[in-house]
Symmetry: C2
Subunit: 137 residues, 2 copies
DNA sequence: CTACCTGCAAATTTTTTGCATCCGG
DNA sequence: CCGGATGCAAAAAATTTGCAGGTAG
């Protein structure tokens, strides 16, 4: 993640808590909730819950993480992809509970088309499927 | 809404709170949060918050309402459409804050296609766009 | 009568804020 | 130094649960 540079160049200092959080998210490629992040970081030196939320907020403001709400009332975060190359969406398997990322060019094309048809300017979009993953079907 | 019949035929009694809630949702065609529903119902005779959540849960279990989480940490509910005829998705306008419903056959087709391509069984899907609505563009 | 429904209040869970202090540049 | 960054504890906000009646069928 070039997150640190982006933040530095907009006048933000560095700090232990956010630093660890950035590394954790960069390693993980799937979405984590704030509380999961807190638990993981707490093990390895104390990191306050508040710092986790503040760091996620900041990263989200700078579009360095994507915020997902998948229907269980918990927000999840994953590294945003500035190149758009790893852009993806999610299927929640109702059988095994897994969160399965996928991408689909046809879907992206449709969203682009409808944006023109309906006169919307779309800055962000999120698609969530619920059903059975390939393994559970 | 045929909600009352569905619930009756699965052994549920009727009650004042849920009854009013069903009417409210049926009238409204856009999504409301639990707390908005509570406020509205409270004005016209006391309805407890717990009853609102319990009724929404029950309706959701029977697929009579759709539950949306649009990114602000609040769940919203709208009547589900068993015919599929009023199936739609949402744009949140970042300018004026409005929730704008839309539908798009191309989008639906894409989702159907990717389901086959990836081997998913899709029971439900939800698309959320963030950007500017037609008026604000 | 019995099972379901309701209101109230209290408990949980997730997220936010206030404040004193620490630290990066 | 100064403007962030952090931890802690307390506060808010959203949702859930326990319980003692009430009511539909």
């Amino acid at each position: 993640m070039h997150a640190r540079e982006v933040l530095a160049s907009s006048g933000h200092h560095r700090g232990a808590a956010r630093d660890k959080l950035i590394d954790l998210l960069a390693a993980q490629d799937c979405a984590l909730s704030a509380l999961e992040i807190e638990d993981t970081l707490r093990r390895d030196g104390s990191v306050a819950r508040a710092s986790v939320y503040r760091a996620l907020d900041l990263l989200h403001d700078h579009e360095l993480v994507t915020r997902l709400e998948l229907g269980d009332g918990v927000a999840r975060y994953e590294p945003a992809d500035p190149t758009g190359r790893h852009h993806h969406h999610h299927l929640i398997c109702e059988q095994c509970g897994q969160l399965v990322p996928f991408d689909d060019p046809g879907l992206e094309r449709s969203i682009h088309n409808l944006s023109r048809r309906l006169g919307f300017v779309i800055n962000e979009h999120e698609v969530t499927l619920r059903g059975n993953c390939a393994d559970c079907s």
